[in-house]
């Protein structure tokens, strides 16, 4: 395997509150290599976005990284402060947010937002930045890019704005993109275009992508590997085919069972009983144990071992075997 662009080891994010310390991200480890798209899935509050924010150093206080390491391009970044961290953002790590309608400053022309970002990171002239801004818009498929650089965000549709956001995230040529629910706020037809665009740009440039979403369809469409998060912990990690068709962790299995598939016909959707526990009321042992169909006494005491199966791994005492599911 090539050297990873992003390497997270035992990452833990803590939020001190009056009622004790919450851990929205708890001991998470994964790598993303160049040109690879890692899908990060989970329910709301599972810690997917929090992990992304930790990587780019945008956790809002009092949330902070309490343990673990983050390496980008072989350099440790979780301890960088102030200006050193700022130089990393945009230059080495780009970020795409969920809502393109609110991600762009309404009062500034998109061309100016692009050049401003490039000039902050690249040693180029104003004229060169102007030229590259047009090229960046062309690359993300904005028709008439040369005229549209002078437009304001409100003059674009939602899908076009997300293209602008992607152009902004990529304009200083970062080696890692964190896409936090990039298609959630968009129409289904536009979603597919945006995913295809992200995929194409990252393949072409060899950019590593952390694709955070709760949409299994997006994962199946775009991701090479999948990380499934549950209550701050990594439940399962593996190649997208394995995780979707033959999951190891009972939670992943339940998640797949609750995704509508055309092949399953009109059968009633499976539903995982209960809800994900709140972070201040986690059960001892495995966080999924109260809802798990395969739960045993040991699960309620111990979070479970990390088991490996081929390219995949999961945190469970009683993983489903590949055969059982298939």
């Amino acid at each position: 395997m090539t050297k990873p662009i992003l390497s997270i080891r035992d990452l833990t994010v803590e939020i001190p509150t009056r009622h004790g310390i919450l851990r929205p991200v708890d001991g998470v480890s994964y790598d993303i290599t160049a040109g690879e798209i890692l899908g990060v899935v989970g329910e709301s509050g599972a810690g997917k976005s929090m992990a992304g924010n930790a990587v780019i150093g945008l956790l809002s206080p009092p949330a902070h990284i309490s343990k673990g390491e983050i390496h980008v391009n072989g350099r440790r970044v979780d301890q960088l402060q102030g200006d050193a961290m700022r130089k990393l953002r945009g230059k080495e790590i780009g970020m795409v947010f969920q809502d393109p309608l609110t991600s762009l400053n309404p009062l500034l022309r998109i061309g100016d937002q692009l050049t401003e970002t490039m000039l902050a990171h690249l040693d180029i002239s104003r004229a060169e930045a102007d030229k590259r801004a047009v090229a960046a818009l062309e690359e993300v498929g904005i028709p008439g890019a040369a005229e549209r650089v002078g437009s304001y965000p409100h003059e674009f549709s939602g899908g076009m704005r997300q293209r602008v956001v992607i152009a902004l995230a990529l304009c200083a040529e970062p080696s890692l993109i964190i896409a936090d629910e990039p298609t959630t706020a968009l129409d289904v037809s536009v979603q597919a275009q945006i995913i295809a665009l992200l995929k194409r740009l990252c393949r072409d440039r060899g950019t590593a992508v952390m694709l955070i979403t709760h949409d299994m369809g997006v994962i199946a469409e775009a991701a090479d590997r999948v990380a499934v998060m549950y209550a701050g912990k990594l439940a399962e990690l593996g190649p997208v085919r394995d995780v979707l068709t033959a999951p190891l962790h009972p939670y992943t299995d339940g998640l797949m069972g609750s995704t509508p598939l055309a092949s399953r016909g009109k059968a009633r959707l499976h539903q995982i009983p209960g809800a994900m526990p709140r972070l201040d009321a986690l059960p001892p042992g495995c966080a999924f144990s109260p809802r798990c169909p395969k739960v045993q006494a040991v699960c309620r005491q111990d979070p479970g071992p990390h088991i490996e199966d081929g390219a995949g791994r999961a945190a469970c005492f009683f993983p489903l075997s590949r055969e059982e599911v298939a």
């Binding site: 945008l58 990393l88 953002r89 230059k91 991600s103 009062l107 401003e116 902050a120 990171h121 409100h154």
Partner: protein, 326 residues
């Protein structure tokens, strides 16, 4: 754009007409000017004659119409008390008020915005909290009390600054300015602080709360995620987005700085139009009162018009009526 301006000017004219009408109907209740104008030795014949000469025997609608007729020709009548044309008296007094208002308006806007941004960025800092607490005094103390306190401290106890008047003035054309002499500048300090303090704290608190609101927005997070410098994020991206509401309030406040200079002018015996107005009320000098009220409403209406045009300059979304969008 032009159609909008014309529409607004027409509206403004209507507002002025109504203000004049309301003012005129109220003058009937402030007392009888004839009482003050004729001495003790008056006869009923004198009173009746003067009443006819001044046109006060006519219904107020007719008086109002006559006032309008001459006002549009720049003729505001003759002061009952001073026996000189009102426009001449106003021209003589206006520079004092306008200079005072300009200095306190400048103080209020520049300090208000600077402190507002500072207290928003250093939200939890000691200095910011201290400024916020002190600003409560500015908001809650009445203007005349601040003026008297300042006079007590700087004129009576310390003896640094004059307690009343404009100091020496220099005539430039028809304009008498206090900016060019040392005593004129010294005399400006206390009144302009007194007049501007309330507006300054108001603008500061408004800028602060707007900034805090804007700093939470996605586009600010996105600007940070692109690695822009903190200064660019705060001043270029955030401050610009706070300006629309700030300009609205600031515009109204500038109007009231001129209008409510009355109190400050009374405390400091500042020879401006406010003091003129107070004296006119005591004497029931209707032409002066009417002209003053019209002058103030012209300023309010004019400032509001400018404010509306500034919106267009700042927020491109308001210019969108032709390009589609909203």
């Amino acid at each position: 754009m032009l159609a909008y301006v014309i529409q607004r000017v027409a509206q403004s004219a209507l507002v002025l007409l109504v203000v004049g009408l309301v003012a005129f109907s109220m003058f009937r209740f402030v007392g009888d000017p004839i009482d003050n104008m004729l001495g003790q030795e008056r006869t009923q014949a004198d009173i009746d004659r003067l009443r006819v000469v001044l046109g006060l025997d006519q219904p107020f609608v007719v008086q109002y119409y006559k006032f309008l007729e001459s006002a549009v020709q720049g003729n505001f009548g003759v002061s009952y008390r001073q026996g000189r044309p009102v426009s001449e008296i106003l021209m003589e007094r206006a520079p004092a008020t306008l200079e005072l208002a300009a200095v306190s308006g400048f103080l209020a806007i520049s300090l208000g915005i600077a402190l507002g941004v500072f207290t928003a960025i250093r939200r939890n800092g000691f200095a910011a909290n201290a400024i916020m607490s002190v600003s409560l005094i500015g908001v809650s103390l009445p203007t005349f009390l601040i003026g008297i306190l300042l006079i007590y401290l700087f004129s009576v106890e310390l003896g640094w600054l004059p307690s009343f008047g404009r100091g020496e003035t220099v005539k430039i054309g028809g304009w008498s300015t206090g900016f060019l002499t040392e005593s004129g500048l010294k005399a400006l300090i206390l009144p302009s602080i007194t007049l501007g303090l309330y507006q300054m704290t108001l603008i500061m608190r408004l800028v602060r709360s707007e900034m805090l609101e804007v700093l939470r927005q996605d586009y600010i997070r996105f600007a940070r995620a692109r690695g822009l410098k903190e200064r660019a994020v705060n001043f270029h991206h955030a401050l610009k987005n706070t300006l629309v509401p700030v300009i609205t309030v600031t515009g109204l406040q500038l109007g009231s700085i001129i209008a409510f200079a009355i109190i400050t002018e009374t405390v400091f015996q500042w020879p401006g139009v406010g003091l003129l107005f107070i004296n006119a009320i005591q004497f029931v000098d209707i032409p002066v009162m009417a002209a003053y009220l019209m002058l103030i409403s012209v300023m309010f209406v004019g400032i509001n018009l400018i404010v509306d045009l500034l919106y267009f300059a700042i927020d491109p979304r308001l210019r969108a009526d032709r390009t589609g969008g909203h």
